[in-house]
């Protein structure tokens, strides 16, 4: 009897497992613009669907950063209207915060905000949109006005089908309010790869970063790394400081207790501090009118308002 029950479970699992998978793939396909929804544009060829580690087959080394942020599945498809074409990529991340993260990684400082989804930015010949746990990327092959208009339309149609709501990572609420009007760009970090592409301390994962934020203000830059508790952040801080103290990438290294300061190869002034379960780094440009120490102190003061 026991064997029969186990057998039934295995059979059910074998049926339901793939069915769940197919439902997810079908749902992804359902979000894509269909023939007739965008004038004379229609899908060209079959969409390509991948999930999990198979994203590598689709975008090779580009897959790593998606996995770092937390990737679930993706579908890509080309559209044509007889004379032109564009590509649409739809990525589902693990959650809205992951989608926020990959969106901030992929978008630049410039570009034109577009009113669609939770946030959208049009840059040159492509448009990124985040909606819920999804990232939509629409790519044209030129920057002509009619092409950009098509990209907006495709993004709006796709985002309109996604009902899930977005959510910002909680760490953003810890950013100092004093400088909020000076923000140029925020990049949410979920690992060393995103950090390495934001500010390069080292090729190695010095900080064992799991969550953080990189903010570019008009006069300085801020990095905030979050850990499970203060002892973990202190340990990572000390380990990183040991490496940075002898790194050829930095000069004028000074260390006092739980703070360090140094200069990078581009003569940026860098200060780093372990504060409770955070590692805070402030970077100022040479000749900046902002006093780095003052900016650093403001960030710490702001964090001090929160109990954690």
């Amino acid at each position: 009897m026991k064997r029969i029950i186990i057998g039934i479970f295995l059979i059910l699992f074998a049926i339901i497992g793939p069915m769940e998978l197919k439902a997810s793939a079908d749902q992804m396909m359902a979000f894509l613009p269909k023939a007739g929804e965008m004038g004379d544009w229609k899908p060209k060829g079959e969409p390509q669907y991948v999930e999990g580690e198979d994203l590598f087959h689709l975008i090779n080394g580009g897959a790593e950063v998606y996995h770092e942020y937390g990737f679930k599945q993706a579908v890509t498809v080309s559209y044509e209207n007889g004379s032109q074409s564009f590509n649409l990529e739809l990525y589902q991340m693990n959650n809205p915060q992951s989608a926020y993260g990959i969106y901030t990684f992929k978008t630049g400082e410039n570009g034109t905000p577009v009113q669609t989804g939770d946030a959208a930015l049009l840059e040159d010949y492509y448009l990124n949109v985040r909606k819920g746990s999804f990232l939509i990327t629409v790519i044209g092959f030129d920057s002509k006005p009619e092409t950009l208009k098509t990209l907006r339309e495709a993004a709006t149609v796709t985002a309109g089908k996604i009902k899930e709501k977005g959510a910002d990572p909680e760490i953003l609420y810890l950013l100092p309010t004093e400088f909020k009007d000076q923000i140029i760009k925020v990049t949410y970090l979920k690992g060393n790869l995103a950090l390495y592409n934001s500010y390069e301390f080292d090729t190695k994962d010095l900080f064992a970063l799991k969550e953080g934020v990189y903010v570019q203000y008009r006069q300085f830059r801020l990095l905030m790394f979050k850990y499970d508790d203060a002892s973990e952040s202190n340990r990572k801080f000390q380990e990183a400081a040991d490496v940075l103290s002898t790194s050829s990438r930095f000069a004028n290294f000074k260390r006092t207790g739980n703070t360090i300061s140094m200069t990078d190869k581009k003569s940026h002034s860098v200060s780093m501090e372990n504060y409770k379960r955070y590692i805070i780094t402030v970077i100022t440009e040479p000749g900046s009118t902002t006093d780095r120490a003052a900016a650093h102190a403001s960030v710490i003061k702001e964090l001090g308002k929160y109990s954690f």
Binding site: N60, G61, K106, I139
Partner: protein, 310 residues
């Protein structure tokens, strides 16, 4: 005056040329070039302009011509970065077509395209129809063969396309662009295009071979790339530095930089050391370039290089 050479010089040069041919991957200019310019060696040829097909041919001529690379009667493999579709992420097919045409015109016995590239790529070029015959004659890359990598630090073995292992002449044709993992991808990293997913995913998984949690061990990836390049030296590198992404590489979409440059050379490390500067980088800060130099695969001394521009 200037062009006449002595019999002794002629014999010396001819012998050296013959020895170079036997060794393969000739580093000696063809005889005509030697006779005309006995002291001139070009390390890097850079051609600027928007006629990428013609400029590719010009760049190779500036190195001494395709004949320098013993293409006549040879099995040639061309490794072309052609897998993606977003602007600035793949080699402009006009460049690859120019190289393939030069090889056939020079009497190549066969030309293999790696990876296997279909019409979708070639049809992006307005020249695809005109050179359709040459493209149709391209051989398949063949199956992947597992090979050991003697001297590999992180990579001890790899699966590599048979077409690369079998060829007499190897021409590496990458695009210089941004890469999230290594910051730059060019000649050295393009070798991954000759390997399957099973090999390439190992490069990305880090030292412990664990999936999912640690993306990415840049040093490990860079060392694997340097190690992979121990397998086979390209006889010629032709780099697409015409229009390329400077962010969100390798797949894009990203910010496009349009320099309209074709860069050709025979020292893959030198070529990458030069081309990474297009991304605002210095070779000493690109780990795979320094690791390749440590393997003695080439030089990073761009200042000492003989550079010809057109």
């Amino acid at each position: 005056m200037g062009n006449k050479i002595s019999r002794r010089t002629f014999l010396k040069t001819g012998t050296a040329f013959g020895v170079g041919s036997v060794i393969g991957g000739s580093v000696i200019p063809d005889l005509a070039a030697v006779v005309e310019n006995p002291r001139e060696v070009t390390d890097l040829a850079i051609v600027n302009g928007e006629n990428y097909f013609e400029n590719t041919m010009k760049a190779v001529r500036m190195l001494g011509g395709i004949g320098r690379f013993n293409v006549k009667g040879a099995k040639v493999a061309v490794l072309v970065n052609s897998s993606f579709s977003n602007p600035g992420t793949i080699v402009n097919p006009d460049i690859a077509i120019a190289v393939i045409k030069m090889c056939f015109d020079a009497g190549a016995r066969e030309v293999t395209g790696i990876p296997n590239t279909g019409e979708r790529y070639w049809n992006r070029s307005s020249l695809a129809e005109k050179y359709g015959k040459e493209l149709e004659e391209l051989r398949s890359a063949g199956p992947y063969i597992k090979v050991k990598i003697p001297g590999g630090t992180a990579l001890k073995e790899a699966e590599v396309a048979k077409g690369l292992l079998d060829c007499d002449v190897f021409i590496n044709i990458p695009i210089a662009k941004n890469h999230a993992g290594t910051h730059y991808t060019g000649v050295l990293k393009n070798m991954m295009g000759a390997c399957p997913y099973s090999t390439n995913s190992y490069f990305h998984m880090g030292k412990d071979g664990k999936a999912a949690k640690a993306y990415e061990d840049v040093d490990f990836l860079s060392q694997c790339i340097a190690d992979l390049n121990l397998l086979r030296k390209p006889d010629l590198c032709v780099v697409d530095a015409t229009e390329f992404i400077t962010t969100n590489g390798p797949f894009g979409p990203g910010k496009l930089k349009k320099l309209h440059n074709i860069v050709a050379g025979t020292d893959r490390v030198l070529v990458d050391a030069y081309c990474c500067t297009f991304l605002g980088l210095e070779a000493k800060n690109v780990a795979m370039i320094t690791m390749a130099r440590q393997h003695q695969l080439g030089s990073t001394d761009v200042d000492a290089a003989k550079i010809k521009r057109a």
